[in-house]
Symmetry: none
């Protein structure tokens, strides 16, 4: 539903909504015509929720599109990922847990190798080690002098990857990549496409010129290429859009950052599953919506480890067993995208989802798995609609029209 | 997905996509509670593809809308038929195999009967024979003199129907129908709604005045009514939108024309199924995408011949048996719309579809038929998404967002 229309329907109450997100949940069979990871896992608690609730298959972006973590989570939070585009620089900063402010423009930097004529000979500087990256970042930090009133932060990500954040009044993020995308070419000049971005591009130029000087005797990483400039603009919050005070329980920086982007409260990083449960219990009465993020379903999928993904799903199923003791109005279990072990990567396959609530109209699905979900009441729909369905089942939406 | 966002995701490789389109494939049971044409047909090859791939039901335009051939095929090629509207004049010209150029404005002409006061008494001139139509077209061709720099082409379609094409620099197609839609009224004057179309409308007026003079002693077809003026504007090509070099194998002019409209290579008309297979084999290595069009499922449906439609589906199933020997990455089988024999016409019913690929996540569907497709993974979706799903399964799309 259009968000301006939705606003008029919101009704606040004490009903709680829990979103349990298994990153990269969707999978594929290991053998043709076999079972997926989720279908293979023994999941009595998830199956009970599926039996009592409704199931479906979700498209995070649209059919056939493989989502990154950013678009996948925005869709879960009800933000159309084709409308709310988060720049790569901002996502990279979120990914390392950097706390962005509204004065910040962020970009991905890659260490690279240039020759004596300034032409790029290796766009990744031979994938230098993270340790060397840290050493070079330290060197750049201590030597670069930007015009006053602009602060910069340079942070190692891993190997040849780093993030640059410029902080100042009136900066703009509409700046082209300086990465020429192929070797044998000179890095491109940064240019802004509006006055604020032009001003910012001038500062980027100063930064890059100094970096070139600072790194000139290094090898192989003697320069940097910048990509994905983006200004940090927090989105309308979940409180504004849905009237939900939202709380995030997540161990990994990227998901904590994404939760902050939509105005969730993000407490300290929980050390383990038990700590996650403790955070949920301790904050349960203070919030309306709980985003609980489990990462390892995705990492095991990315590693191509079918059996580990199965085992992780089974562990999370045990954790799920406690949820109903809190007496929530709605429990949602799904993922931000699929990460089939056989593909070792995110994929376009729709994500299995279940929504449990006393008011969900039970369908014929009795087991949580991709092929069973295909026959559920939720049908196949865009992930962004899920939050509306959750609000409805929490009796937080009034009638539309008389 | 929005086409500007999609562009950044395209990745080229050698994986081939085959679209096998049975025109008007969807059907209805002959008896209540009976089986449809497709469900009745013995289709071991299609069933095998359905078992190994994913199935669904497609809405070419949107639920409840009966599509013409134009919108139905545009949706298959991934062009939203509510956004890309092809004028009737252009479709009529495509339908008779007329090769339009970017200088052309086309319109449907109907021979009609007017009385001594110039009022329309029969909008179809008693549905004159195609032979008489051809005679009159010949007469008009040899007598009409248009201002130089504008060429015209007049072509018989059938019975009272013909197509007019005006060719010249700077013509416009925004011209009203001259058909008053009811008898007892005078034909309307053609008027253009922008300068180019105004200029063109003046030429249409000259053409119509001369035709009135040329046909004044004919009976019953003593004038013509024009409808559906439209300028031929080729669409962005499939190469531009999807990075796909596309090849069309189709026997009928309309579908060859629609394929040309989106930039496909269209070889000579294949004489029979064997020739279609030969064209596919001969051009397989040179192209990425193959549109293979079978017409007779639609014509048998239009004729109300249930048994013939069943038999044709069985013949095509045999043809399908060879496809996997080419080792394609993706095989899609569906139709451009439904043509149930019991309705003897196109209909709004969603169209059964299957997508076979090693990366399709197998669903529980084991037979290709409307009611089985309703339980497939593809779910029910708009036809325009299908091409994106095909690109994904051919591993031709990068991740969206980080």
């Amino acid at each position: 539903m259009k968000s301006d229309l939705l606003k008029d329907l919101l009704e606040e109450n004490d009903n709680k909504i829990i979103y349990l997100i298994m990153d990269g949940l969707g999978g594929l069979p290991r053998e043709p015509l076999g079972l997926t990871e989720l279908e293979t896992a023994r999941t009595p608690n998830l199956d009970a929720l599926a039996r009592e609730g409704i199931c479906g298959l979700l498209d995070p972006v649209s059919p056939g599109i493989t989502p990154g973590s950013g678009p996948g989570h925005l869709a879960l939070f009800g933000y159309d990922p084709q409308e709310f585009i988060i720049g790569r620089g901002v996502l990279s900063a979120l990914g390392i847990g950097f706390q962005l402010t509204e004065k910040d423009v962020a970009a991905r930097l890659n260490f690279c190798t240039i020759d004596e004529n300034g032409l790029v000979v290796d766009r990744r500087a031979g994938r230098i080690s993270t340790e060397l990256n840290q050493k070079l970042v330290e060197k750049i930090r201590s030597h670069v002098q930007l015009p006053k009133k602009v602060e910069f932060f340079l942070e190692t990500v891993s190997e040849h990857r780093a993030v640059l954040i410029l902080r100042g009044e009136g900066l703009g993020g509409h700046i082209n990549d300086t990465d020429p995308q192929e070797t044998g070419k000179a890095p491109l000049e940064p240019r802004g496409s509006d006055p604020a971005s032009q001003k910012t591009a001038e500062i980027v130029k100063i930064f890059l010129n100094q970096v070139k000087e600072i790194l000139k005797d290094e090898h192989p990483a003697n320069f940097v290429l910048a990509r994905g400039f983006a200004k940090y603009v927090p989105l309308p919050t979940m409180k504004q859009r849905y009237g939900l005070k939202a709380f995030a329980i997540a161990q990994y920086p990227m998901y904590r950052g994404l939760a902050r982007l939509v105005g969730m409260t993000v407490p300290e990083k929980p050390a383990n599953y038990q700590a996650m449960w403790q955070q949920l219990q301790d904050n349960y009465s203070q919030y309306d919506f709980f985003f609980i993020h489990f990462k390892k379903t995705d990492s095991s999928g990315e590693d191509g480890d079918f059996d580990r993904k199965v085992k992780i799903i089974e562990e999370i199923d045990e954790w799920v067993g406690q949820l109903k003791t809190l007496n929530p109005a709605v429990i949602v279990v799904t993922g931000d995208h699929s990460t089939p072990s056989v593909l070792k990567s995110h994929s376009w396959h729709p994500v299995p989802a279940l929504l449990w609530s006393p008011y969900a109209r039970p369908d014929s699905v009795t087991q949580f798995g991709e092929r069973y979900c295909a026959n559920g009441y939720m049908g196949r729909m865009a992930t962004k609609h899920l939050i509306i369905l959750a609000l409805a089942n929490a009796l937080r939406l009034k009638k539309f029209g008389a």
